[in-house]
């Protein structure tokens, strides 16, 4: 299924990317070419095949992946906001969400 510029604009909206008109054009062409390569997958019969979401990383018993639910120190408010572009009194400040 060929991808249209309208599709690209919709995906950009979903992905919160404000594309320039040039990017919208070039992505339409490039994504179209990548997707047509991907269509190749339809050659394979995957009836009754289970999807693989991750690799097995250890013993079959997955219990090792859990740790005790104990309280331990976290980053703390000061460090947590230290890298923020616009911190204010220990909070993240953002543009207005409601009204205005």
């Amino acid at each position: 299924m060929p991808i249209t510029k309208a599709d690209v604009e919709k995906i950009a909206e979903l992905a919160r990317l404000e594309l320039t008109p040039q990017e919208a054009d070039s992505f339409t062409e490039q994504l179209g070419s990548i997707l047509s390569h991907i269509e190749k997958l339809n050659e394979i019969d995957t009836t009754d095949v289970a999807p693989m979401s991750h690799c097995t990383v250890g013993s079959d018993d997955a219990d090792y992946a859990r740790r005790d639910d104990k309280i331990r120190p976290s980053l703390g408010q000061k460090l947590a906001v230290e890298n923020a572009p616009d911190p204010e009194a220990g909070f993240f400040r953002v543009p207005k969400v409601i009204g205005g």
């Binding site: 919160r16 070419s33 991907i38 190749k40 979401s53 990383v57 250890g58 090792y64 947590a80 890298n83």
Partner: protein, 485 residues
Amino acid sequence: MELSRLTINTVHNRLASGELKAVDLCGAALARIERLAGLNAFITVTADRALDRAKQLDRAIEAGEPLPPLAGVILAVKDNMVIHGVRTTAGSRILFNYRPPYTATAVERLEAAGAIIVGKTNLDEFAMGSSTENSAYGVVKNPWDTTRVPGGSSGGSAVAVASGMAMAALGSDTGGSIRQPASLCGVVGLKPTYGRVSRYGLIAFGSSLDQIGPFANSVEDIAKILNVMAGRDPNDSTSSNVDVGDFEAGLGASVRGLRVGVPGEYYGEGLDAEVRASVEAAVKKLEELGARIIDVSLPLTEYAIPVYYLIATAEASSNLARYDGVRYGFRAEETPTLKEMYSRTREQGFGAEVKRRIMLGTYALSAGYYDAYYGKAQKVRSLIERDFRTAFTECDVIATPTSPTPAFKLGEKTDNPLEMYLSDIYTITANLAGVPGICLPCGLSSSGLPIGIQLLGRHFDEAVLLRAAHQLEQAIGFSATPKGL
């Protein structure tokens, strides 16, 4: 002092005997980094921090303390692994000023074992690329021919080791990002089994594929580094509890009787004739060492790239949603609403390849397309993994080329993303199946560019993989280094 010829063992012995000071070794590395700045291998050089650590190590040695296993090892770290207080950019404008409040587990373990980190290396933005041309901090050049790419995405790490700016380096490998640049730069690079090394503190790209691994000048050094950083980490639930053991101990054993699988699918159309000849000659050497060469089949190889570029981009689109201008990094100015702030920040903060992959991944996960793309890719991934399990009932390791060609020219593939993706064809399958893979140099092309052979092993069977690689390395005796630097 020529770092590219120094092994971990040599440095260890010289430090122990007192004929070498860590601070002098570190100084030599920093001087070389400065002299070779034109290669653009580093985004951040941590000179003061490195010299402080070297002095501390010298004092400990003078005080008669036992040397830790990686004492004085000059290490470079790909700039997508966090180090407390050291700027970490992931090669992206969106993290131009990020100073992490914690340190990646792999890095922490290596530093605790005495390694000295001289800096953070350049990479394709968020590790997305095969040439290290996608960095917001400029392209990296191949030391063997500075008009060519070093491979990617861990290009800076490969170059740092290849050009003697560091004795070893850390990279990350989601679809070949350690092995392919190792091949193009003539060094050894290992992608361990998925789960072998903790990813805590690795900036996420494709979480079901990402794995941290080392670059070094020899398989022995790779084994020493893996010994230190492998193993369960409570901070990464995907890190494995499988026994680590000692990867160095068995390196000297013979490969007599080892079954080496050669999959025809990796030697077909698109493979450069010189690369093929060099890799086949290396396989022949394994046979001369007593290994049995067996034809195996990995029939779904040609479907690996489409599977990868759906799964990796879907995971990336989700992982990169966190870069929204709120908690860290770059924020676009003068955006009246929150939504505009998000989308303009991401528009200005991300480069073209990252946007392209976010777009593709978002599409693959969006309503109406999920089953046709992402779901289908996950099913084919199951079949690819099954192919590997079947092949590994017939053989113990698999030998293939690492990259279809030696290093290509800077700019050669930047206008054609699909062609760039196809350069990962031999490395991507190991990430999809989760198996370990190592690349080591096996020769030079007629134009003097390194060629690498890839060996793949069973899940968590790095011991056998490294033994085969070490024995082959000794038989090949590759000793060339880049000239004219």
